[in-house]
Amino acid sequence: MSVSMTKPWTPLTAETLALVPGSVGVFEVADESGVIAIDYAGGNSLFGLRGALGEWLAEQRGLSFRYERTNAYLSRYRELVQVFVNDSGAVPRNLVGRDVPTGHIRSN
């Protein structure tokens, strides 16, 4: 089992966004340079993953996304961020200046 997210990337458009569930879960957003955001749609989110990804669509065009629908969104989010930071040595753009979950987990 991989600790990284392995689902294929999907272009972020109004049409693909409409197919995203309104439930809680984790997601990644990428541009041509690679992953720029790792985040979650939690219990306080409006329209769950669809709402959170909709904010990215409103902000920037030409992005791709992938997501996992999971009730364990906080633990999965912390795992994904640790792996990304430990493997790449960088913090995803959306977490710069925020409390970043730190730890020892890296990709297998």
Partner: protein, 394 residues
């Protein structure tokens, strides 16, 4: 049994209750409903307040700079500290001190300097590495992680699972077999292992019903530690773990009762305000009986939990009493929260209220820190070994 809360305890309870209501619950309105951590600066502000209250490091002996609360007082306060959304697994977000690592009180002076005192100052975090894929309920037999001598060093190989906090810890207490597989309790040794030791990998987070405060899986591949990493005596690790597990089950049980008390209070209030079929919920006998059953559950569970705490303080044997408290409190709390959800109807299962989180997390409490079935085995062993003694004569 014959328990009465002292004036001092009453004052402490009121202070902690005020802290939870004024400092913790308002913070939670801004957090994700599953959150179990605060940002470091917010936590530092809370810790400053608990230090001012004279209640920081409640479990730590006075000679080490802690409060040194007796078990009964600690139990009463555990019931108060858990009365908020994250309270079951993160009571007050550790503002009253990090979870106790009492094994380190037995450490050498050098070990204390390097590991215990930074923990007490809140500068380091630790994990407790006992459970393995081969089982957690019977560690004496199931531990397969091995430590072999290599000169004066030890080399550790094996796997640990369901280990909370290992991904963000600075070090851990790791229990490994130093005798042969048939050596049982006497063949287990406790090692202090730095989290960045070469060969130690936190392989993954184990995603469970509990999303904020999660367990992890560890792999040890030729992890080399010096002889000074042994905590206590070689072969005495099980006794050390067992003592900690037994005593910890008392506040563990009390924490369950805390969230159940809050859920029950919410249910009573809601039943008094919500109308259905032309009258308040509380006017319906079906609801009244549910509330009464919860009241009975809470009072009886609190009685056996405080009885166990009192025995622990008195120096009398308390293993059976703790096992009873652990079973009764974890199961009663689950029933009380379940009824509170039923009384709240659809709202009860939403993340708008804390009930659904407590319901999920309480399910784990019947397994964690020794399952209900393991506790029953402990009680039956004590009961059937030698001449039976009734509770009145114990």
């Amino acid at each position: 049994m014959g328990f009465a809360i002292t004036e001092t305890q009453r004052t402490l309870i009121e202070n902690v209750r005020r802290f939870v209501r004024n400092e913790i619950i308002p913070l939670e309105f801004e957090l994700d409903p599953d959150e179990s951590e605060l940002s470091p600066d917010v936590l530092a502000g809370l810790v400053a307040k608990t230090k001012q209250m004279g209640l920081y490091n409640l479990d730590v002996p006075e000679e080490l700079g802690g409060v040194g609360a007796d078990t009964v007082t600690r139990t009463l306060l555990a019931m108060e500290m858990s009365q908020h959304r994250a309270g079951l697994y993160s009571p007050c977000y550790a503002a009253f001190g990090q979870p106790d690592m009492a094994q380190l009180y037995e450490a050498t002076d050098e070990q204390k300097k390097r590991y215990l005192f930074p923990i007490l100052r809140g500068e380091k975090k630790s994990f407790f590495g006992l459970t393995e894929p081969s089982g957690g309920s019977d560690p004496a037999r199931s531990i397969q992680t091995r430590a072999k001598r290599d000169g004066s060093d030890w080399i550790i190989n094996g796997n640990k699972t369901f280990i909370s906090g290992a991904d963000s810890a600075d070090f851990g207490l790791v229990f490994a077999r130093t005798g042969d597989q048939e050596s049982g309790r006497g063949g287990i040794t406790c090692f202090i292992v730095d989290a960045d030791a070469p060969g130690l990998t936190v392989r993954r987070v184990i995603h469970t019903l509990r999303s904020g405060h999660y367990p992890t899986e560890l792999v040890f591949e030729d992890v080399r530690v010096p002889a000074e990493a042994v905590l206590g005596e070689v072969g005495q690790g099980f006794a050390m773990a067992n003592e900690r597990l037994t005593r910890n089950r008392i506040p563990y049980a009390a924490g369950c009762l805390g969230v159940a008390m809050m859920a029950h209070r919410m249910a009573v209030e809601y039943a008094g305000t919500r109308s259905v079929f032309g009258s308040k919920l509380a006017d319906h006998e079906g609801i009244q009986w549910m509330l009464v059953d919860s009241e009975i559950d809470l009072r009886s569970a609190a009685a056996v939990t405080l009885d166990a705490a009192e025995r622990a303080d008195s120096g009398r044997p308390f293993r059976t009493e703790v096992a009873i408290a652990k079973i009764v409190a974890t199961e009663a709390a689950g029933r009380v929260v379940d009824r509170a959800i039923q009384i709240h109807g659809g709202y009860g299962v939403t993340k708008d209220l804390p009930l659904e989180r407590w319901y999920r997390e309480l399910r784990i409490r019947r397994i964690g820190e020794g399952s209900t079935e393991t506790q029953r085995m402990i009680i039956s062993r004590d009961m059937l070994k030698g001449r039976y003694t009734s509770w009145m004569d114990r």
